[in-house]
Symmetry: C2
Amino acid sequence: MNSTAISDREYIEDICRRSRNVSRLGMTLSSTLKNKALLRIADLLAENEEEILAANRIDVEKAHEHGIGEVMADRLTINSKRLAGISDGIRQVAALKDPVGEILWGTKRPNGLEIIKKRVPLGVIGIIYESRPNVTCDCAALSLKSGNAAILRGGSEAVNTNRALVKVIRRGLADAGIPEDFVILIERTDRSLVNLFMTMNDYVDILIPRGGKGLISNVVENSRIPVIRTGTGNCHTYIDDGFDPQMALDIVINAKTQRPSVCNAMETLLVSEKAAVSFLPVIADALIERGVELRGCEKTVALCGSKIVPASELDYETEYNDLILAVKVVSDVNEAIEHVNKYGSGHSEAIITRSYENAKLFQDKVDAACVYANCSTRFTDGFEFGFGAEIGISNQKLHARGPMGLEELTSVKYIINGDGQIRT
Amino acid sequence: MNSTAISDREYIEDICRRSRNVSRLGMTLSSTLKNKALLRIADLLAENEEEILAANRIDVEKAHEHGIGEVMADRLTINSKRLAGISDGIRQVAALKDPVGEILWGTKRPNGLEIIKKRVPLGVIGIIYESRPNVTCDCAALSLKSGNAAILRGGSEAVNTNRALVKVIRRGLADAGIPEDFVILIERTDRSLVNLFMTMNDYVDILIPRGGKGLISNVVENSRIPVIRTGTGNCHTYIDDGFDPQMALDIVINAKTQRPSVCNAMETLLVSEKAAVSFLPVIADALIERGVELRGCEKTVALCGSKIVPASELDYETEYNDLILAVKVVSDVNEAIEHVNKYGSGHSEAIITRSYENAKLFQDKVDAACVYANCSTRFTDGFEFGFGAEIGISNQKLHARGPMGLEELTSVKYIINGDGQIRT
């Protein structure tokens, strides 16, 4: 197909059709073959380091010309060490248990029908993402391991890097005897292509957006393909009446400052009235010392003084992804639960308490993917949960909730064996 | 709230907000309380038979005035016996195992964190459906049992019946001490309201359309709320080279004629070349005798003569839901699999064979929710599968596939207990 002569619709439809066609094979690909391809890809990435790094330099230079910030430039950059890390990640995926074919349930019905429920691949997974080129390899590896065909749509700023990576991935697939269309990159970078892609529900089974709020809300609002919403985290930590001060200090500092840009970082600290009197000034100083800007309710300001910026309603709604923290004094665990359920994004929420009763109340009544007692919200992560992989963190309730590993990239199929049964 | 003075948007938003608010309680409602409410509703339906039947008569009369057909009028009608059946169905739901709170998985991580994965309600379920008023009670009962709040949007032709039923359901909830907003009926019947409803993704967790193709594709194309697509069934039966003729005859007749209007009825018969020579004329006569119109490929016409209407491409794509059957002679099981994967809707597919190898090939490679060997496709049904209930049959791959029972109306939640863990 001459890619310059065809329209965007034809271009996208051709990609989706090819992906759909090869995806049927995913149901019967053996673990051995899939692992062979993964290990081959890991080797080829190392062997082709020069070409990949050269392509990446073009992207990074262009990004600098466009005045990209240092943080973004760093996210875009691949160096020798990072590429080795990507290869290692792929080898780790090869070592994981293959989820496809697992028998999840079975029954023999009174009429003699034997029904079993099996795990099967979803089919075609579309992934729309920004910047970090390691996502290209992660998603390709996890999709392949779970028997799915993947269509990747990375950011335009990383297109040269992604093209170089996908070229290597496809060679690895072919070397192992798997059709290379199991992984396809959408190379055209016009924004309108994303919206076209999202109408391809006849070919694509699931769409996973990975990136900023704008990207995710565009996909949720416009996609006809079922979407898994990932990555929005307005997370809270609540300090209850009775608590261990050192533990609370460690957890709060960790949840806010260890990596403020990520979705499982704390955005609002809730403190019970009782705990606030002695503890809030201490924790405020510790956070301010670490460069955190605090935006507090009236009571917080009264307790801690002018170093606290008064908080508005908007502060409680905001996912800062930055060294800023909203603080609110609440009367008790019930008000904390109410606040979390009103403002939270259903991602990760924590209580710090010595009370069995309040821990249980909080964990039962807070409506979120992950509800913690006495630890940092930063643990919401596929690796930390022991899944060995992660394709994103879902904060919707349908299909997958919380960290998504290989199992979350599968569907099910019922196999029914009879000997002539008819329905009466 | 004065319902005539407010706009459609305010009306719908008020319903969704009320539903969202009470839905939080669903996570902690005890089985005892939910069952108490269900049994109370079943009793109240019987006690209020007169009022319900009177409301239903208004709907049926109006429908006749609008020239509704006999079949549709019958679907709309509730009589004493049918109402008793509805009550029985609700009592059966009360007797089912409560899915909420089930521990699905657990682990202790090297850092001491204990993680458990629990089943929780989805939250707010929206159901958009047509005609049959029993759906109102089924969906309300299944939603309640699985701890979900339900917003019901029935067809305008059944609005009086639905209003009477929901009035009773809400009284039953209140009698058991559960907020009656756990079940809310959208009583305004303008079509535009459905489209407004579908934008309420801030309040509603999942939307299940139950009805004809127009309804379902409108929802899939326009909803911002995650949708479970149900009910489209272009199902096939393939007769392989070696087969038991009597079994094949029984199954084919059953799959096509026992209830042709439903989604798990057969729409296309595929017959291997070998089987076709002797068997196709026999099965054709048997089907024609039962009033089935056959639309066949060239080979079918050549074997069976002029009683076969020549089939077009469109016939293989069509879900007739009627006494019409497309027929095609294929070379072997591989061509059968190809045809099914090309034209099928991923619902229910069957092979009739004596070959272990071909049964396995068909069941492995056909991409559908339910793949049968040697029995009728008509078994795709929550009750036939032993789920004790059914809220629809999903033919998408995300979240739920195949018959959906109580478990498919749940999500999960991770509970993580620590003693001061922070991430390093």
